[in-house]
């Protein structure tokens, strides 16, 4: 469905040192530096797959999405989306895709979302009957009944995002590009969006690529993740396998009947946090069984769980790791 081969996107950026003198000089003579937003990444995505793009700010995630949706021309490399070359922006291609950006909105600000839907219906040439069916479905699933008649500017951020999503789905796209669709939303609204996106994917067999800073989004939606860092692909595979690789240790969370001294925890494993009656230990995977049985026998344990490290932590460790590797190579 989506095939990306050795994609590169370099920008020419005008750079100057701070200060008035440098500013004056830059008026006459400009020095440009090339920024490598995406620097040679390749991947294939099958129809119906849900893939998460992960990476720190400025990693090249949004640039890649924009190249895939035809908004940016790649500097080099080959990109295909359902047989189309995105940068040609053929109508047939544009009718198959959608892009939702959590930070930008397409809803007509002063008019009710229903008007934006109607406008998109006309632009995408959606037959009336199909439009009505799609809209009814979206209204029910996203609970838009009350919202689509109010001017967009009167909606809350979460309500507006739901309408944004609906506006982008009026033409029933086969490929969904979601750039931080849940940014700034509260937990329950995030969950609503996730559930909806997943069900759209399952019912329509749509392919989706998601970028998000909320690891919960990625964990809930994407069985496969692609990690992009400084324009390079640093991981492509299952989310679980990624966690295993970066942080093979498990976490043993203990809830105790009474406070214990730190000394009595130390022999069990690395203490991550410890306050009075709860303690979190980090232990190698193969030592989990031993640790659990020792904890149960030596401590007043009320409750015990074994967990993976939080995804946020795994990711920041992954990024720190690759940064260190780059610096080593640079040196």
């Amino acid at each position: 469905m989506i095939s990306v081969r050795d994609l590169r996107k370099h920008y020419q950026v005008h750079k100057r040192p701070p200060g008035l003198k440098a500013a004056l000089r830059s008026v006459i003579h400009r020095t440009y530096t090339s920024v490598k937003a995406v620097d040679g990444i390749s991947f294939e995505i099958k129809p119906g797959e849900r893939v998460g793009f992960l990476g720190p700010n400025g990693a090249g995630k949004t640039t890649t999405l924009k190249v895939l949706s035809g908004l940016l021309h790649p500097s080099s490399g080959e990109v295909r989306v359902d047989g189309h070359v995105p940068r040609h922006r053929e109508d047939a291609f544009l009718k198959k895709i959608m892009l939702v950006m959590g930070q930008k909105q397409q809803l007509l600000w002063d008019l009710p979302p229903a008007e934006t839907f109607e406008l998109n219906r006309a632009i995408y040439d959606v037959p009336r009957a199909q439009y009505k069916q799609t809209l009814d479905e979206l209204v029910t699933l996203l609970e838009l009944e009350e919202l689509i008649g109010k001017p967009a500017r009167q909606l809350s951020l979460g309500e507006r995002m739901k309408c944004e999503l609906a506006a982008a789905l009026i033409h029933r796209p086969k490929v969904l590009f979601l750039d931080e669709p849940t940014i700034g939303l509260d937990v329950s609204m995030q969950a609503t969006m996730r559930t909806f996106i997943k069900s759209y994917n399952e019912r329509n067999g749509a392919t989706l690529i998601l970028t998000s800073h909320y690891m919960d989004d990625v964990a809930a939606l994407c069985p496969r993740v692609i990690v992009i860092d400084k324009g390079l692909l640093s991981y492509d595979g299952g989310l679980d396998a990624l966690v295993q690789r970066v942080r093979p240790e498990k976490r043993v969370v203990l809830r105790l009947n009474q406070a214990v001294a730190a000394d009595s925890l130390a022999p069990l494993g690395k203490v991550v946090t410890h306050d009075n009656v709860t303690a979190v230990l980090q232990v190698p995977q193969d030592a989990v069984n031993a640790t659990v049985s020792r904890a149960l026998s030596s401590l007043p344990v009320q409750d015990l769980t074994v967990e993976n490290a939080p995804l946020e932590e795994v990711m920041s460790e992954l990024f720190a790791e690759s940064k260190a590797r780059r610096e080593k190579v640079g040196a």
Binding site: Y11, A37, T62, T63, K66, S69, G70, L71, L72, H73, R87, R89, D91, A92, L94, K95, I97, M98, L99, M101, K104, Q105, Q106, L108, D110, L111, E115, E118, L119, N120, A122, I123, Y124, D125, P151
Partner: protein, 263 residues
């Protein structure tokens, strides 16, 4: 194809009228403002014609026709062209032009029809009023041929105005702060209230060939008076088509620049 775009235009017009009706208080305010501007447009004319009978061969009544065309075009500019195209500048600044480019329809068409301010059509009525008053002063009615020719020129003038605006907006792809440029454009357009023969030398050349103000207001006024040579009419049609073609090329080039450069 054409039918599809006409339908799209219909939908866009609908959204604009909905918006206009939502803020119907604007109707009164816009009306007062546009009457005020028509009055200020007339003021210098009264001052000048108090001193002398005619300027550069134009009597007071005839000069009113030029102002009439100026007012009418201003109504079209501010009601149908300006709002959409200043919207483009906003789109570029906020990055929401992405959404326009993602749509399976011509981007120039979509941005050009995005917003209309129907209340500004009051200016068009004011322009028509000035025609009536001007011919009343001249003491005769325009000929049918004259009116038809001036209608053709209305088309060429609107096309010219629109193309000039597209060229201005295209600059926004390169220099993001284009507000100054739009002010510059509006203040130059202001010169179109004078009959073209008022301007001499370099200005006459600039206002005919570079920024064809003369073609926009003076030509139709002359056509109404029945004294525009046929060659000028043909020239205006050809010239405006060329301008439209040029602006289309520049627009396409700018879009290409946007999509290959921005992040």
């Amino acid at each position: 194809m054409l039918r599809r775009y006409l339908r799209l235009l219909g939908v866009q017009l609908r959204a604009s009228s909905l918006l206009a009706m939502q803020y119907r208080g604007d109707f009164v305010i816009e009306g007062i403002i546009s009457l005020f501007w028509t009055a200020t447009a007339l003021a210098p004319l009264f001052v000048v014609y108090r001193e002398r009978e005619s300027i550069a061969g134009w009597s007071f009544g005839e000069a009113l026709l030029v102002i009439g065309w100026f007012t009418l075009l201003q109504g079209i500019l501010e009601g149908a062209i300006n709002p959409s195209l200043t919207g483009v500048v906003e789109h570029i600044r906020k990055g929401t032009l992405d959404f326009v480019l993602l749509k399976p329809a011509d981007a120039q068409f979509l941005v050009s029809t995005a917003r209309f301010l129907p209340w500004r059509s009051i200016n068009v009525l004011a322009g028509l009023g000035l025609f009536v008053y001007g011919f009343h002063l001249i003491g005769r009615a325009p000929s049918l041929v004259g009116v038809l020719a001036s209608l053709v020129l209305l088309g060429t003038s609107v096309l010219l105005l629109y193309s000039l605006w597209i060229l201005t907006v295209a600059a926004a792809f390169y220099v993001v702060k284009v507000d100054n440029l739009t002010y510059f454009f509006t203040s130059i357009f202001d010169a179109a209230r004078w009959p073209a023969s008022v301007f001499r030398g370099v200005l006459a050349f600039v206002f005919t060939f570079v920024i064809p103000l003369a073609v926009m207001t003076t030509f139709p006024a002359e056509a109404m008076l029945g004294r525009l040579p046929w060659t000028s009419l043909v020239w205006a049609v050809v010239g405006s088509l060329l301008f439209a073609f040029l602006s289309r090329r520049v627009w396409l080039h700018s879009i290409g620049h946007y999509t290959s450069a921005s992040s």
